[in-house]
């Protein structure tokens, strides 16, 4: 892990991989909860954790540098969520081709994977789910769809994800779920928060 300055109130932790991101995010979250760290926002992402709203970013960077990544204990297993999914997405056949398997093979692989929310972004409650082996990464669609419905389950790059609300989107859609992913009146408002473990269960349409 190395830190990079991000203006007078923030630093960006750059990690080697998603596992190191998870460890540092968990470590910083513990410090935040215990009051050892004062910050407005902790934002994990693909390879980084942003610590925003800190009084002395340079001091924080220095104190984190003295901590080896190994000492940032791995995160506790997050809460588990099971999502019922109807596998009838418009890109299912294409994904089967990319994965050199059948449609049933895609469903088996997707339901057989324990995913983990690596981070949220793109829109409120949109979780980037890791867990698929690297060789199952798929490219985004060449042209994004102007409107992807809420609940659409898709794949892009190394991630799977579920659209919490209708939006344009370029992910390859393999199914849909009726689960409510984002509800501003709920606490927390997002069903899939960083660290949450996710499994999909195939249900008839």
């Amino acid at each position: 892990m190395r830190t990079r300055p991000a203006g007078p109130r923030a630093i960006l932790l750059e990690c080697a991989d998603a596992a190191e991101v998870a460890a540092w995010h968990a470590e910083l979250r513990r410090r935040l909860d215990s009051g050892a760290l004062v910050a407005t926002d902790l934002v994990p992402a693909a390879r980084t954790v942003l610590v925003d709203g800190v009084a002395d970013p340079a001091g924080l960077a220095e104190s984190l540098a003295t901590m080896s990544a190994g000492r940032a204990a791995p995160p506790e297993p997050g809460t588990a969520v099971e999502l019922d999914c109807v596998y009838d997405g418009p890109d299912l056949a294409e994904v089967a081709e990319l994965w050199r398997t059948s449609v049933d093979g895609v469903v088996a692989r997707h339901t057989g994977t324990e995913f983990r929310v690596a981070f949220c972004g793109f829109s409120p409650g949109f979780g980037y789910l890791t867990g698929l082996p690297a060789e199952f990464a798929v490219p985004r669609r060449d042209s994004p769809r102007p409107r992807v419905p809420a609940g659409a389950v898709g794949l892009a790059g190394e991630y799977s994800g579920v659209y919490p609300s209708p939006s344009p989107g370029g992910w390859r859609l393999i199914g849909r779920t009726g689960a409510v992913l984002f509800d501003p009146s709920a606490s927390p408002p997002a069903l899939l928060t960083p660290g949450t473990r996710v499994r999909f269960r195939a249900v008839p349409g």
Binding site: A6, G7, P8, A46, A190
Partner: protein, 317 residues
């Protein structure tokens, strides 16, 4: 009922407060007033907590009718303010009698005016804030003609001195915001209508300054840019010399801060404002000092913009 009725909503009028900080890890943008100090000043002028919700107008202002007598203050981009047809001071607490029209006109300079009302705008909060987030759609919809905008009860214990006693800052509030908002340099003197003084934004090195060539960094810190008409609450987009990258790799999305100067594929930088996304996949070359973000939010399309390194901060090479 304590409320305004919207007679003319203007170009884009939204409810704003301090937004939703602390939720970026769920993909929820901060949102809030684009020029937050201007809204906080307006709140103080009417005796509100500075965190109270007010209205943000864009260039053309708005016309509202007070359904009960209300105490208001308009700050931010200097614009004519009329109550029942009579001009009243900008940057000061003014009463609006029940049934009277409050008209905030077109800003003479700058982009965004703010209206605070004693008691605050009382739409239901969403995730702790009443702000309209134009990126994610959280919060109330922008004002439309005929809308009723509820106003809270007058604060029981207004700030010491009370709104009527002209608290410190009231007298200078109007002129001060008029001078500093459009230029960001506070050089004083009156600005002729329509003038386009250069906005100077002080910047710190961004986390990905190393992804750009040395000439690109020099260009950023010396070239003349212009605020683009495609700017909005998400970001101030700029036209001007593109910034060349030294690293061509794709950047995995990473968290971005308010004021981040991001360089998309076109090479022309943009400055992230209140409704910026929580993560971005283009490298951030610099970060505008928080003190100068309001000036960026007030830069009208066509305004010349320059970036200047914050003194004593290393890390540009």
């Amino acid at each position: 009922m304590r409320a305004f009725t919207v007679l003319r909503p203007g170009l884009l009028s939204t409810v704003q407060d301090r937004g939703r900080p602390g939720l970026a890890y769920l993909g929820i943008p901060r949102s809030g007033a684009a020029d937050l100090p201007a809204l906080e000043l307006a709140n103080r002028l009417v005796g509100n907590d500075p965190a109270a919700a007010g209205l943000e107008f864009t260039v053309t202002g708005a016309v509202l009718r007070a359904e009960e007598s209300l105490l208001v203050a308009v700050t931010g981009a200097p614009a004519p303010v009329r109550v029942a047809g009579a001009e009243v001071p900008h940057g000061a607490a003014v009463p609006v009698p029940a049934g009277a029209e409050l008209a905030v006109g077109t800003a003479r300079t700058g982009l965004r005016s703010y209206l605070a009302v004693a008691g605050g705008i009382a739409v239901p909060p969403v995730l702790g804030s009443r702000a309209t987030d134009t990126l994610s759609g959280l919060g109330p919809a922008p004002l439309r003609k005929g809308d009723t905008v509820p106003v809270g009860a007058t604060p029981v214990a207004p700030a010491p001195g009370g709104p009527a006693a002209a608290p410190a800052g009231t007298a200078s509030a109007g002129p001060r915001s008029a001078e500093t908002v459009p230029g960001g340099t506070g050089s004083g003197g009156s600005t002729p209508p329509g003038a386009r003084r250069t906005v100077v934004l002080r910047v710190h090195p961004g986390p990905r300054v190393g992804w750009f060539t040395a000439p690109a960094v020099r260009t950023l810190l010396s070239a003349d840019y212009q605020a683009s008409p495609t700017s909005n609450r998400v970001g101030m987009r700029l036209t001007g010399p593109p910034l060349a990258r030294s690293v061509d790799a794709e950047l995995p999305s990473e968290g971005v801060v308010l004021g981040a100067v991001q360089v998309p594929a076109s090479g022309e930088p943009l400055v992230f404002l209140a409704d910026h996304p929580t993560t971005g996949g283009y490298p951030v070359i610099a970060v505008v000092d928080p003190a100068d973000v309001p000036a960026a939010a007030q830069a009208r399309p066509g305004t010349p913009v320059r970036f200047e390194p914050v003194e004593g901060v290393s890390g540009w090479t």
